[in-house]
Symmetry: C2
Subunit: 319 residues, 2 copies
């Protein structure tokens, strides 16, 4: 068997935590100073399942125990993984993992560094109108034929047009990739950045912080999945301390969704869903009225078919 015919399997994990208003992902330092997700090869001899292989590698590299984990997607695109010329084909399986222990591990980095266009909490990110849309317009115009142009136009509209859908993180990243707006595109294709006409950014700087291999794509998948899951599964609580105020809970959800929510309605929702129960204790804030501390009510899982926080209320800051 030729080395070039072999397939090896890479396992990568997007390990997510939220500290206050900042959703973060654990990254490891790497060659070329590129951020990378903790990853390693799957060893068919040592590892009984894909997930146990992942846990082993992550444990060795980060000293972290993974709690909740979920398989995301398996990527096998030619040319998307290799930068060094080692030859064999790599198929990579991505995982999402949630944890609340953030400790003082040095590797945590806010995920909006990698996806600055995904944070709409304060306002629509200016870069969308100033950089992204003009460049994508060019991408549509430069399509080889009118059919491709129409397809591209539709994608641009779905991804960045009217009605922001916070779940389409992956679709947006893929579109930006294909349009040559993220660094990884040039690395993967071997083209020089300045050759590309679609380049919307004059200075040659790409959008967001790039990552090693296809790790940014995996992270995009993780964020998309997590944002979707929030709505019908009480996953936020995996990221919260055992006791929290309702505002802290709301801030965490907002951080993950990249949106502001209507405070009163958020509370109504949480109360009606029976997701939490009061502890009788209260927060001691520096200023302002103390809020009651709540804990997650495990019972919901028994009662409700789909307990989650269907967001919806996209609103300007009101509290």
């Amino acid at each position: 068997m030729n080395v070039k015919d072999t397939v090896s399997i890479g396992l990568s994990a997007a390990i997510v935590a939220v500290e206050g208003e900042h959703p973060s992902v654990l990254v490891v330092a790497h060659e070329g100073s590129l951020d990378a997700l903790p990853f390693g090869p799957f060893d068919p001899v040592d590892h009984r399942t894909l997930e146990s292989g992942l846990r082993k590698w992550v444990g060795e590299q980060t000293k972290f125990d993974l709690g909740y984990t979920e398989q995301l997607y398996t990527f096998g695109d030619k040319g998307r993984h290799l930068s060094a010329g080692s030859g064999g084909r790599v198929v990579s399986v991505g995982y999402l993992a949630l944890t609340r222990q953030m400790r003082e591990a040095p590797g945590w980095r806010g995920w909006y560094h990698y996806f600055p266009w995904e944070d709409w909490r304060d306002a629509k990110p200016a870069m969308i109108d100033s950089v992204i849309l003009p460049a994508l317009k060019k991408f549509v115009k430069d399509a080889p034929d009118s059919e491709t142009a129409e397809l591209r136009r539709e994608r641009v509209n779905v991804c960045f047009g009217e009605g922001w859908d916070e779940e389409r993180v992956l679709e947006r990243y893929e579109l930006l990739y294909e349009a040559g707006l993220v660094e990884e595109f040039y690395r993967d294709s071997g083209h020089n950045k300045n050759e590309n006409k679609n380049q919307g950014n004059k200075k040659g700087a790409s959008l967001g912080t790039p990552m090693l291999f296809d790790h940014r794509r995996i992270l995009a998948t993780a964020i998309a999945r997590l944002r979707g899951k929030l709505k019908y599964r009480p996953v936020v609580f995996e990221l919260m301390a055992p006791a929290f105020t309702l505002l802290e809970l709301q801030r965490a959800v907002e951080a993950l969704a990249g949106l502001r929510l209507h405070k009163q309605n958020f509370r109504r929702l949480v109360a009606e869903q029976g997701l939490v129960e009061g502890t009788g204790k209260f927060s001691t804030p520096a200023r302002g009225r103390p809020a009651e501390l709540f804990r997650f009510r495990r019972g919901v899982l028994r009662e409700r078919p789909a307990p989650g926080l269907r967001l919806g209320g996209r609103r300007a800051r009101s509290g």
Copy 2:
């Protein structure tokens, strides 16, 4: 490199079509006469992406054009997939694929053969009360400790208790598997069926038709995913002929969801969403008033963020 160290990648597909009221999946005959999903190797040299590899061999083997495809899950469990003595490890990537051409290919089989408890269109399947729930009650009672019992009770309630959630196909299958109610459990564990006390079915017959390896699990994943997707993505149309009546569309959705829908509301929904447009032509039924033929409006994709058929209306037959 030792042969035993190599990993090969298998691609399996749940290829789904709907004929009238019957949702079907393409299965291939196999050793031991067990039904199996079509399975093909991923070729790292020929195939640019996993999905293109899938399309290629499905096209070669079945002469079918896949429309919509979606990756489901990647399994790598040791011993769970025996690659006929060749020794190497197989990691299998499962896909859901939709097609409308059913032709006279012999391999189509209704998916409720494999999951008879999932079809609630006529009524709640009697086997749930007569066989499943008693057996699961026993499964709860036989738990090694009270904590496990409580967990099992919760799962039973979520899966088969009040409020049927048609999307939990995989959860239900996994529960039945663990409770020893499906054939695959005995095959995988090597236990004799009659040893098991949890066996709720006196005759020793298991629930539903078993499949090769973990293919029934993959199919359960496919059905669950498809049922979920129906609600926010216009995937049904991938399964419909180019022109169809609204009742045909409704029947197809009902077949997939395993539920009856309220006819008038279904029409209202379809109309409001702008999912279809009339063709001006009419059906010519044997009896009854002819219905207008509709076609899918591709434009929705441009206009709506999440066009789908959020079902909801679980109702007795009314038309």
